[in-house]
């Protein structure tokens, strides 16, 4: 750890002193820059990742394999209970569904952001970012009030508009979980999509229209294909984030909505079986990593095809 901290120091100093280039300090920083180039700028971030990400993940990994000698008993226990496979499947299903609906809802908004005038865009951004500052627990309780059988939405549908005879089961089931999670993931999704979409040259769409395509066709055949890499990246990140949810499924789900993250939390804080909790977390991490690798492999292949 001391080393990590030491490694962080020189580049920071070199940055701070880069402007008044005087004496030995400037020489040191120059040497660093010459030796490592711009990579030196990544040192602080890298050190931070090692300290607060790689090390804890290492500890989790170790905990799942040692007790105190090497053992596979935690994994054997997981393999023995068919309910664990089911919980993994439920988590993946919930994550896929929330990523999917986030994309459906996020894509049009991101497109509007790209097209909007700067003032309107700023206003839209403010509204997109607003939910970020609301605590996740508060949001869950708010959704309960809105979605329950005697909640706001059902009261309007059944009591005021008489559209339905009986209230819809909107919460304490899969529907509630997905609504709560999409609400949480949407701003993140929109921001990723927007930042990638704004690189698309809108003149190409105009050109298509100039050559006779109607606006819809120009959008579908020019803008959409150009935005696909953004879609893939946003979908993947949303999915990965969704895999780690445990508060929302716990509060808005029913008895069938048990996620791996919920189990991890139970085993760490309730049962105090850190070994088994770590094993569950490790498998979840492995699944996520596998998904990421697959994504990057496919992207690379695609890039290769484009170049050919």
């Amino acid at each position: 750890m001391g080393r990590g901290g030491g490694g962080r120091e020189p580049p920071q100093r070199s940055l701070a002193r880069a402007v008044p280039r005087v004496g030995l300090e400037a020489e040191t920083s120059d040497r660093l820059m010459r030796r490592f180039g711009p990579a030196a700028l990544a040192f602080p971030g890298l050190a931070l990742m090692v300290l607060f990400f790689t090390l804890p993940v290492g500890v989790i990994l170790a905990q799942s394999f040692f007790d105190p000698g090497f053992t596979l008993k935690f994994y054997a226990r997981m393999a023995a209970g068919p309910e664990y496979a089911l919980v993994f499947w439920i988590s993946i299903k919930i994550a896929l569904l929330s990523a999917f609906f986030s994309m459906i809802a996020g894509y049009p908004v991101a497109y509007l952001l790209v097209k909007a005038a700067p003032t309107l865009r700023a206003i839209m951004m403010a509204f997109i970012l607003l939910p970020f500052w609301t605590n996740i627990l508060v949001r869950c309780y708010a959704w309960m009030l809105v979605l329950q059988t005697k909640g706001l939405l059902n009261s309007i549908l059944v009591g005021w508009l008489h559209l339905l005879a009986t209230p819809l089961p909107l919460v304490f089931n899969l529907t509630g979980v997905i609504i709560g999670m999409v609400h949480y993931l949407l701003p993140i999704n929109i921001l990723i999509l927007y930042s990638a979409m704004k690189g698309i040259d809108l003149k190409l769409v105009q050109a298509a229209q100039g050559l006779g395509a109607n606006p819809l066709r120009a959008f579908l055949t020019v803008f959409v294909p150009l935005s696909l890499p953004a879609v893939r990246a946003a979908a993947l990140l949303t999915f990965v984030l969704a895999l780690g949810f445990f508060v929302t499924p716990a509060l808005l789900g029913g008895r069938g909505e048990i996620t791996v993250a919920m189990l991890v939390s139970t085993y760490f804080s309730e049962v105090l079986d850190w070994g088994f909790g770590s094993a569950l977390a490790t498998v979840l991490l492995a699944i996520t990593t596998l998904g990421l690798c697959l994504h990057f492999a496919l992207e690379r292949r695609r890039a290769g095809l484009v170049l050919q």
């Binding site: 007790d67 209970g81 309910e83 089911l86 919980v87 309780y141 309960m144 009030l145 329950q148 059988t149 005697k150 909640g151 304490f172 716990a250 509060l251 029913g254 008895r255 069938g256 048990i258 189990l263 139970t266 085993y267 760490f268 804080s269 309730e270 049962v271 105090l272 079986d273 850190w274 070994g275």
Partner: protein, 357 residues
Amino acid sequence: MRSLKAWKGTAGRFLAASLVASGAWFATTGSAAAEDTTIVFSGWGGSWQTAERKLYFDTFEKATGIKVVDVPDVNLTKIKAMVGAKNVEWDVVQAIGMWLPQRAGTEELWEPLDYAAIKTDGIPKEMIAPNGVGVATFAQILAYNTDAFPAGKAPTSWADFWDVKKFPGKRGFLNQPRYALEAALMAHGVAMKDLYPLDVERGLKLWEPLKSDVLWWEQWPQAPSLLASGELVMTLSSQARILGLLQSEKTAPVAMVWNQGIMTVDFLAVPKGSKHKEAAFKLISWMLDPEHQAEYAKATDVGPSNTKALALIDEKTKERLPSYHYQKGELVALDNAWWAANLDKLTERWNQWKLTN
């Protein structure tokens, strides 16, 4: 120097406490540098801890000169991590009973209490353990919506919870095997004294007919809110939350049943490796005092552990306290040792049961 280091750790971890912490640090280093006079209490936070601050800690500071810093969100994981890292920042902890017995695969997390230094006059024997002593009582009870079931037609026991014909409507329960098994067995004729060891498989089976009638909620605050809104017609809840709701909203359509409630006890314990054991024992003694407990019970509806405290409380307030109803034989005490020993197995079985039924 060591205590100073521990201090900084605490302050860093608990933003809310940090202001108080630095204030207390200046105070102690300024005046009584020779005496080691600051201890950290970790409790559940919220209004219960605000009352503890006022009625236990402030008076304790005045009487003894020992400073108490209180931090919220006590949890066993943090205690295990602190003890494991040999850097214990908490000196007195408000623990649920299930935390005291040693778990398989876990080292001893608690200091033995020195009962020469801690006065336990009036504390029932079953609340005095080598590593913890009972301080407060809670009751997990059956609560119902009075719009759905007005007086005269109200449920009076767990058996009524299972009677869907006579008491139709959605029921709620904590999404955990704890209390769920006790309630199911009591509803089907198991006497309170014969409850433990629990017949797990029978208890789970008894829940099956209710499958489509039960909403399994996750957090205690959900229960009174779902009940008051009419989403649930009856549910497990804690007595203090139902009474608290009725106190802040007199017209809330909720009521509760003491009969067959499950009493839980909060214990005071000292994490292994605390650097201020002597002072910690003094604070524990202070919090067991019948007069202090009586004041606390009056302010919070949390039951006193000290039977002598009940004598200092008027009849009307007594009616609100679990300790009183336990004495009357209406409540059964949760068997902490049984749950601590079976928690891992039951967590697994519970999830399996929920997913396959």
